[in-house]
């Protein structure tokens, strides 16, 4: 830790968003994420076949003019399945970010602010974090039953503690600051201090963390689907397509190739976005790492 390092001075004349546009990691990440988002939004327009329509006579068509990414053992269009699959991944990832973010933020704020709650809450979070992430998610969905909603619940249980830890760390520093004492002296209630004074100041690290939670959730959802614990087939999730194609690796590797590329590009975009945001929102971090 270089304690003497000060945040890099930014020129007044530069609009804040210019800094973002000049950051290569942030820009690359944003472009990748936007592309996947567009794929999800425009899935109806850019595909010609329904993702679930089977045509056995055209099974195992290699990628080419008629089938951009080839077809699977039932003659389903992989391009169409990958495009529609992006909706499932984004929806599950986003819902996990919202649920894990809300629960984690609340727990983190309470643990950081009320010292008496800290020990109990954080030991419970430690216990949840002791389970390997995928195993816990898989265990929970095995009990609740495989579905998109249950995948979101399971992934939120897995990632809320990791979010709580980040928010608690910020709260612990903030609660000792003068502006919190001033707010208290002015008669602000605890709820007001938590929501109006502490929460906004935690947002930087929280946004960075939630970007990574999104990335983990997309990866974990793919793994859950692959193991048969995601939205049940024939739903076109990226993990389901790979699980279906697994038996035909020798003759039709393209069935597995393209959904895996889609997962990698999405997660890469989110990871770059998260790294970029961390640099941009916390200048000290950048000085440390570069």
């Amino acid at each position: 830790m270089s304690a003497t390092a000060l945040p890099a001075p930014t020129r007044r004349s530069t609009a804040p968003w210019r800094r973002y546009l000049r950051h290569p990691m942030f820009v690359t990440g944003a472009i990748l994420c936007l592309s996947v988002l567009l794929l999800a939004l425009l899935a109806d327009l850019i595909t010609t076949r329904s993702p679930e329509r089977t045509r056995v006579t055209q099974a195992f068509t290699p990628p080419g003019e008629s089938y951009l990414m080839g077809s699977d053992n039932l003659g389903r269009d992989i391009w169409s399945r990958v495009a529609y699959g992006s909706r499932v991944s984004i929806a599950i990832g986003f819902a996990t970010v919202v649920l894990a973010g809300a629960a984690g933020t609340l727990i983190g704020l309470l643990a950081g602010y009320y010292r008496k709650l800290d020990e109990a809450l954080m030991r419970a979070m430690d216990a949840l974090m002791s389970f390997p992430a995928i195993l816990l998610a898989v265990g929970i969905t095995a009990a609740l039953g495989p579905s998109a909603t249950n995948a979101v619940i399971a992934l939120s249980v897995v990632y809320a503690p990791r979010t709580a830890r980040i928010v608690r760390a910020s709260t612990l520093v903030l609660r000792e600051m003068d502006f919190v004492a001033a707010a208290r002296a002015a008669g602000a209630s605890d709820a007001r201090i938590l929501m109006r004074h502490l929460l906004p100041n935690c947002l930087g690290p929280l946004v960075v963390q939630l970007t990574f939670v999104f990335a983990y959730a997309v990866l974990a959802e793919a793994a859950l689907s692959f193991l048969g614990m995601g939205p049940p087939p024939p739903a076109p999730t990226w993990g389901n397509i790979i699980a279906d194609g697994r038996d035909y690796l020798r003759e039709a590797a393209w069935i597995c190739l393209f959904p895996g590329l889609a997962i990698s590009i999405t997660v890469l975009g989110l990871n770059l976005l998260g790294d970029g945001l961390r640099d941009l929102l916390d200048p000290r971090m950048k000085i440390q790492e570069s």
Binding site: M1, S2, R123, A124, D126, A127, L128, S130, F131, P132, A133, I134, L135, L136, V138, G139, I140, A142, A143, L144, G145, A215, L219, A222, A223, F226, L227, G228, M229, I242, R246, L249, R250, A253, C256, L257, P259, G260, I263, S264, V267, L268, N271, L272, D275, Q288, E289, S290
Partner: protein, 314 residues
């Protein structure tokens, strides 16, 4: 130091009690009646009742909980539904394959991760550094099970160099054991290689700015001694702290990787337990893996305090 270890042990016991409570609660999450779900669709009422009695589900919650803790205390995690024998025994039998896989993957992680991080740091901002960092972020973005499948296509189907799956026990043939683990271990390691390379790089950059490194250079020591000995000692501190995380990621990954490569380990046992709704086995597997993680973190924490004398034990 003794006080530190004692306090750390107490916290560990609390966390272990909570971990076993969470593992136990998995059965409570099953909507409706777990016995009906476990018995399957074709079961008669008598069969369901038999299962309810066999697994103690006819007892009130607190009795079930006491039985669960009493069982764990003597190493009994209940009976598996599908295997017809003790959960503990079934899990222990599958451990060697998973530990072997994790060991090979761990060695790969440490070698590639630390080497890549150190090279990137000493060539900071060069194209080598940038290439390594791009590869590292790709490494943490690729799903391991998909990487495994693609490597089967490349190295087993197209090049015919390595087996597409299966496992040879070490005792049978150490050479074949290693060969059978190369692809799965690499698929499992890539994520951690990326993670470790990034952490090693920033720790190394941090260290290289320290005065004692300049002193070492100034007194004319060869560069490789300054980097390899003086700097590495400090770089190892943050690296040791993430060993627990690496281990946890590997156990997570082993569920999918063992399924992809047909390795008879803990992960594949869990994957099949999930599909057959074998709740006692799922509970036991969760408890075992989490307990291993908690104990490894305890060792890491003590090791960490030992390696870095700056850490105070209070």
């Amino acid at each position: 130091m003794t006080a530190f270890i004692t306090r750390r042990l107490l916290v560990t016991i609390v966390v272990l009690l909570l971990v076993s409570l969470i593992s136990f609660s998995i059965m409570q999450l099953v909507p409706g009646d777990p016995a009906t779900v476990m018995a399957g669709l074709a079961a008669t009422d008598d069969q369901i009742r038999a299962i309810r009695v066999q697994f103690g589900l006819d007892q009130p919650f607190h009795i079930q909980l006491v039985r669960w803790y009493a069982g764990i205390a003597v190493g009994d995690m209940g009976q598996s539904m599908t295997l017809g024998r003790g959960v503990g025994q079934a899990l222990i039998e599958r451990l060697p394959a998973t530990i072997g896989l994790a060991m090979v993957a761990f060695v790969m992680t440490v070698i590639f991760g630390i080497a890549a991080g150190v090279i990137a740091a000493i060539r900071q901002n060069s194209w080598v550094d940038q290439a390594i960092m791009v590869l590292a972020v790709i490494g943490v973005s690729v799903p391991s099970f998909w990487l495994g499948l693609m490597m089967i296509v490349a190295f087993a189907v197209m090049l015919d160099l390595l087996p597409a799956g299966g496992y040879v026990p070490f005792a049978q043939s150490p050479k074949d054991w290693l060969v059978s683990l190369i692809l799965p271990a690499f698929s499992l390691a890539l994520l951690q290689v990326g993670l470790l390379a990034r952490i090693t790089r920033s720790a190394m950059l941090e260290t290289l700015r320290q005065d004692y490194i300049r002193t070492a250079h100034a007194k004319g020591l060869p560069v490789w001694i300054v980097i390899g000995k003086h700097a590495m000692m400090n770089v190892m501190v943050p690296v040791i702290t993430i060993i627990g995380i690496i281990f946890s990621l590997m156990l997570s990954g082993s569920v999918v990787i063992e399924t992809v490569f047909s390795i008879p380990g803990l992960g594949r046992l869990m994957a099949s337990a999930i599909l057959t709704r074998d709740y006692p086995l799922i509970q036991g597997g969760l408890l075992l893996t989490a307990a291993m993680f908690v104990l490894i973190n305890l060792v890491v924490d003590v090791l960490y305090a030992y390696v870095d004398p700056r850490i105070r034990y209070d």
